[in-house]
């Protein structure tokens, strides 16, 4: 059996059902073998970056590995942004790249690049396969490594002659190693000290102003029930980070909102007043903490994370517990005594005030997102890009179902939403999927509309068009003397563009048109596009200046 056939067979046996990729010279043996494994559906993207984002979206929505494929050289380097995005957000992606044949490696051959060297800092593990006899075990190991512990991307570089090399296929020694979605390290979180759990429970019992802050780790661990049980047992108000949104239902009486640079004043003020923060599955990113020296000055911190290196890295912790979020939180539920935090919650709520209308006219983010909520009945997954619209969606859409908010958090990758939404759709074919972008991010990967049409992928595309790279313009307004250098951005006629791709397109310029247009776009079969023409110079408020304290938000235009 050839190396290429082994690749296909091992992927299929591991349960992989979708690949996102783009063929080319050094990966041609793989593509030649691919049709002989019909259980592997290949999605031909229009740019390899989209393949990596789509695999990432698939992984985040399914909880299993997403797989992308590219040829050597430019095909492989085009994956880099997608792999870095997956690495920063702990998403299990396996990238398979063709490489020039072994005798050509190191000779600057046509389309040769050291993709392993290029991706070393953004992969958990990488393999340059030197012998087809190793290939099956490499694929099995890669799939396991991508999912074990803190998930992340893995890269397999396969020289063309290794793909053509004929060897005997080696079945898996350990069938579990090939079982996709199954970690080899099952059975709880070894090493958790019951003493730490008890001490954390004691801190929760003694705190006057405790907060429960949850992040992406809760979603990765499916720890929704445990987190909700802990919150309801202790009465601790709950804060969800950007990647923790939808880990706890919005609208729950204990839910406060998102912290950090664009978090509500109420939430950030609660952090600054808290005497205890129980943080589960998050890493205290600088967008959450602002100035570290001024972050939560009164709070002791209990930090629960699967990654030992995150404990104490950014903020000092009173207790660090290394383990799976569901396991540790479940133990905390058992160890804590029922209590309430009525006085503390009342203190927080006393600071609540109506959100200032930062928009003139009716085309506000609130109105747009309400229209999407009405059209979908709130039953949809929203994939966002990066920028102002990302913050508006994060703050304003009422997420009530787990893992229905998917975005590029750590790397902040513009262009993520459109291709990632294709992966989300394939992971959840029955779910309505909206990809919401700004006019800048949409134009980065809008060619993927062709992929959606060719492959029949039902993604609803929403574009917040303000004619600017809005978040950069906002920073220029606040911190660079309103010099809008290179941020005005021209857009094509999106309705005509949709028409050119053969999909329905709608332009909404007035709030009165929202319900009809969004309703039609949502109900129409297949991909559709809606352009929301919004106010040009609207801002996301509040805003903590970069490096500033959470106690010093900007709440109005300067």
């Amino acid at each position: 059996m050839s190396g290429a056939h082994i690749l296909c067979r091992t992927l299929a046996e591991a349960g992989v059902d979708v690949l996102f990729g783009y063929p080319g010279g050094a990966i041609m043996p793989f593509y030649h073998a691919l049709p002989e494994t019909p259980s592997l559906r290949h999605i031909l993207v229009r740019h390899e970056q989209a393949a990596a984002h789509a695999a990432d979206g698939y992984a985040r929505a399914s909880g299993r590995v997403g797989v992308c494929v590219a040829t050597s050289g430019p095909g492989a380097t085009n994956l880099v942004t997608g792999l870095a995005t997956a690495h920063m957000d702990s998403s299990p992606v396996v990238a398979i790249t063709g490489q020039v044949s072994r005798p050509m490696i190191g000779r600057d051959a046509f389309q040769e690049t050291d993709i392993i060297g290029i991706t070393l800092p953004i992969t958990k593990k990488s393999y340059l396969v030197q012998d087809a006899a190793e290939l099956a075990d490499v694929v099995r190991d890669a799939i396991a490594v991508a999912q074990q512990g803190r998930p992340g991307p893995v890269l397999i570089d396969v020289p063309k002659d290794v793909q053509n090399q004929k060897v005997e296929y080696q079945p898996a020694d350990d069938p579990r190693a090939a079982a996709r979605g199954q970690s080899l390290t099952v059975g709880g979180s070894p090493g958790i000290l019951e003493e730490d759990i008890r001490r954390a429970a004691d801190l929760i019992a003694a705190a006057q102003r405790p907060l429960l802050m949850v992040g992406h780790g809760v979603i990765l661990a499916n720890a929704y029930a445990e987190v909700r049980a802990l919150a309801e047992r202790t009465g601790m108000p709950v804060i969800t980070t950007l990647l923790g949104i939808s880990a706890f239902p919005e609208g729950h009486p204990l839910h406060l909102g998102m912290p950090g640079m664009h978090g509500e004043v109420l939430v950030n003020r609660a952090i600054q007043r808290a005497d205890l923060i129980v943080a589960i599955g998050l890493r205290f990113d600088d967008r959450v903490t602002g100035n570290l020296a001024a972050f939560a000055p009164r709070a002791q911190i209990v930090h629960v994370d699967l990654d030992r290196s995150e404990i104490g890295r950014n903020v000092p912790t009173a207790i660090g517990i290394v383990g799976d979020a569901a396991d540790v939180t479940g133990r905390l539920v058992t160890a804590t005594q029922p209590r309430s935090c009525e006085a503390w919650r009342a203190e927080i709520e006393a600071g609540r005030r109506p959100r200032d209308a930062s928009f003139s006219g009716g085309m506000s983010p609130e109105a747009i997102l309400a229209a999407i909520h009405d059209a979908t009945g709130g039953v949809c997954t929203i994939v966002t890009d990066v920028g102002q619209h990302q913050m508006w969606v994060a703050k304003l859409f009422p997420y009530r179902r787990p893992n229905t908010h998917i975005t590029s958090g750590g790397l902040g990758t513009m262009g993520f939403a459109v291709p990632a939404a294709m992966g989300v759709h394939l992971a959840r074919p029955q779910e309505t999927v909206w990809a919401i972008s700004g006019d800048g991010g949409f134009q980065m990967n809008m060619a993927e509309m062709a992929t959606m049409v060719q492959e029949g992928l039902t993604v609803k595309l929403g574009i917040f068009n303000n004619g600017y790279l809005g978040m950069v313009r906002q920073w220029q307004q606040f911190f660079h003397g309103k010099r809008y250098s290179s941020t005005p951005i021209w857009s094509p006629d999106y309705v005509k563009l949709a028409e050119a791709y053969g999909i329905p397109g709608y332009r909404v310029q007035r709030a009165s048109e929202l319900a009809d247009a969004v309703g039609q776009a949502n109900a129409a079969p297949g991909p559709t596009l809606v352009e929301f023409v919004i106010e040009q110079e609207a801002n996301v408020f509040p805003m903590i200046p970069p490096g500033g304290s959470l106690a010093e938000p900007i709440e109005a235009a300067v």
């Binding site: 800092p121 593990k125 803190r150 290196s309 104490g312």
Partner: protein, 89 residues
Amino acid sequence: MTTLHAVDVLLDDTLLTLNRAVGVLRRRNLAVEQFAVHPCGSAGAARMTFVLNTDAATADRVVQQFHKIVGVRAVEVTTTRDPITEEQP
């Protein structure tokens, strides 16, 4: 307070693992005062030893970062004034 920390890493003796380990030092912008890689007693394993002049918290974070690398088997840190003595001819 900064002091000398000798970090001793036992890891797979493969170029990719060694490269990844060195990459952690580079990426974290750490000031390395001494550095050595040498074979160790176990087959397929190498020992990487380096000295950082830093505070204890940073040294501990480095240890945790190395623990994350696939292929790293053990990491130890010791505080000393003269951790690596060159062999005299």
